[in-house]
């Protein structure tokens, strides 16, 4: 049984009259890769800053590894942070940046040089030690920030949208590297992001934030397949909600339902439901979007409402796709994949 790395209880933070964090309870286990996902202004970064000690909570408590740290300063906590814009010291070389934490811990000069070089090698930046941060690219700076935070071997690493400033290719590459690094060093990572794909691909567990509260905590599959609220359903993945009369007619019971686009098959209108577990609905294709590897169909249902369906382009090509617009189709999905979510309040 693993211990808990972080335990947050009733955490609140108010800035002036506005509430940034409105009561957060959360427990993160040792060695977990934990993501805080949410739109900007949802309070996820404020929670991170409170864990690091840069902000003090208006109320509530923070425990790190079983010890209460709520009132402690950042330098009294065994936590390191990778900042959104890296926050490298511009007047120091890369090596001095990485060795900074070791110097404060009074590690001998030879030893800290050795460890800094090792840490730079770990993030594949050998030979960059003598440069200034301003002479590096965004991706390289990001890795220096990572090396600087990891070299002191903290129990907990906080990452505040560390990949936000990188371009897509580099970001995808860093996602894989970060995850591998975390597995290797075994440190608990708390990763703040507004990018749902990033959270889904990297995390062991995800907390979805909205308006200063946590809407749902779960594994990526749980969050994606079983969204607990309509906010989670729409924020994570493509929104495909049926409610009101349309839901009652299509699904057969009242409520709000979420169906993921890739769970829906697009068939000819004349096709019949082959097994009782399948639900179907007929409609007219309103829009077809060719995505290269897949095609997105927007279908207006005869029963009301609009559903998006995603089909892999196994045999279809871009020419076929355009011909679908205005066609009558039958949509089919497994009944289990229409997930009921609490009504938006």
């Amino acid at each position: 049984m693993k211990g808990s790395a972080i335990r947050l209880q009733g955490l609140r933070k108010e800035f002036g009259g506005t509430t940034a964090v409105a009561g957060v309870d959360l427990e993160i286990a040792d060695g977990e890769f934990f993501s805080m996902l949410g739109p900007s202004g949802s309070g996820k970064t404020t929670v991170l800053r409170m864990i690091a000690g840069f902000e003090s909570p208006s109320s509530g408590t923070i425990e790190l590894a079983g010890q209460e740290v709520t009132g402690l300063a950042p330098f009294e906590r065994d936590v390191h942070t990778v900042f959104q814009d890296y926050a490298l010291f511009p007047h120091m070389t890369v090596e001095q940046n990485v060795a900074y934490g070791l110097k404060i811990r009074k590690v001998s000069k030879a030893e800290r040089l050795k460890q800094a070089r090792k840490a730079l090698a770990d993030v594949r930046l050998e030979g960059f030690g003598k440069r200034r941060p301003s002479q590096l690219s965004g991706g390289q700076r990001q890795r220096v920030a990572l090396a600087r935070a990891l070299v002191c071997r903290p129990r907990l690493l906080l990452l505040d949208e560390p990949l936000g400033a990188l371009d897509l290719k580099l970001r995808e590459q860093m996602q894989v590297e970060l995850k591998a690094l975390q597995r290797e060093v075994g440190i608990t990572f708390v990763f703040v992001t507004h990018d749902q794909e990033e959270a889904l691909t990297m995390s062991d567990r995800i907390a979805v934030f909205n308006q200063g509260r946590i809407e749902q905590v779960g594994t990526p599959a749980e969050i994606y397949e079983r969204p607990a609220t309509s906010f989670v359903a729409s924020f994570v993945g493509t929104s495909n909600l049926l409610d009101g009369d349309a839901a009652e007619r299509v699904v057969g019971k009242p409520g709000t339902f979420s169906i993921r686009p890739e769970k829906i098959r697009v068939l000819k209108e004349s096709a019949l439901a082959d097994v009782p577990e399948h639900a179907t609905a007929v409609g007219t294709v309103a829009e077809v979007v060719y995505l290269g590897d897949a095609t997105r169909f927007l279908v207006d249902l005869d029963d009301g409402g609009r559903l998006t369906a995603l089909q892999q382009n196994l045999e279809t090509s871009s020419e076929d796709v355009a011909a679908f617009r205005g066609n009558r189709v039958r949509l089919q999905w497994h009944r289990d994949h229409a997930v009921q979510v609490p009504d938006a309040s």
Partner: protein, 296 residues
């Protein structure tokens, strides 16, 4: 060259604008001729005349300038004890004023840039600048009143059994420090204001206590601004000769020697005048190494 242009709308102004657009050199010369002439003739020219006349001599009976090439003046500068003393004293005063300004300006700038509430900051900057609105002479005479016998300084220090510094070298340094302080506060304020907050967070995050963060992050990043401010305080102090006449008592600085030699021995005055120029050029070269000049 203009044949391909349509005839419509070709007013003289448009034609001139087009001509300037096509000829980059013409544009630059129109823009810069007047200011460059000013700089070359009036500024560099007079410096050159100063330097050349320093090599002339005077007829000691008539005080008339004799245009005979000689290095006697510079020789006298380096060998006459009075001259050497005054030159060293002037440099010492300029350095003392600079150090005092830096020591006073740093905490003030730290307050105005990082401690005070953001909406008060512009007001505080204005407050720092207000002394610059008053005339130089008014401020120096105000200090003369403060430092005079039974003046404000004496009156305030009396209960402690002390007296004011009176007129002299300390009074000169105090007054000059007061005069040039805003020139030191402003660059430091700007540098501290531009210091990214997350660098301080990052330092604390890596385990540094506030004192350590100040020494390892704040100070090195603000040092170029201190050097930039020191260029002002040092050169303004080195060239000053009025303050020392008003509050300096019998103290003499380079400026006073230049002033007193102008009538009697113009070449000697010129030679004395080149000393601050040389010292300031050396100072600027030293400051350039700190990166200060790029933050001016």
């Amino acid at each position: 060259m203009t044949a391909t242009q349509p005839a419509a709308g070709r007013t003289p102004v448009r034609r001139l604008a087009g001509l300037l657009h096509r000829h980059r050199r013409l544009r630059l010369s129109l823009l810069l001729t007047a200011p460059l002439l000013w700089l070359a003739v009036l500024y560099l020219g007079s410096l050159a005349v100063l330097f050349v006349s320093a090599f002339w001599t005077t007829n000691s009976f008539t005080s008339e300038v004799v245009r005979v090439w000689s290095t006697d003046n510079f020789h006298a500068l380096l060998t006459t004890p009075v001259f050497r003393q005054v030159i060293l004293r002037s440099i010492g005063v300029a350095l003392a004023v600079t150090v005092l300004c830096a020591l006073i300006a740093f905490p003030l700038a730290f307050f105005t840039a990082r401690v005070a509430r953001p909406r008060w900051r512009p007001l505080l900057v204005v407050a720092i600048l207000t002394p610059l609105w008053a005339s130089y002479l008014v401020k120096v005479y105000a200090w003369r009143l403060i430092l005079s016998q039974d003046g404000l300084a004496d009156w305030m220090l009396k209960p402690f059994g002390l007296g004011g510094p009176g007129f002299g070298l300390p009074a000169t340094i105090m007054t000059l420090t007061y005069l040039w302080l805003p020139y030191m506060i402003l660059p430091i304020h700007t540098a501290l204001e531009q210091l990214p907050a997350n660098l301080l967070d990052a330092s604390a995050d890596l385990g540094a206590k506030p004192g350590r963060t100040f020494r390892a992050v704040v100070l090195p990043m603000v040092l170029p601004a201190v050097a930039a401010g020191s260029v002002f305080t040092f050169s303004l102090s080195l060239g000053d000769y009025i303050t020392v006449q008003i509050v300096g008592g019998k103290t003499q600085l380079i400026g006073n020697l230049v002033y007193s030699n102008i009538e009697l021995n113009l070449p000697m005055a010129a030679a004395l005048g080149t000393v601050p120029v040389v010292v300031i050029v050396l100072y600027l070269l030293a400051m350039r190494r700190t990166g200060a000049l790029s933050s001016l």
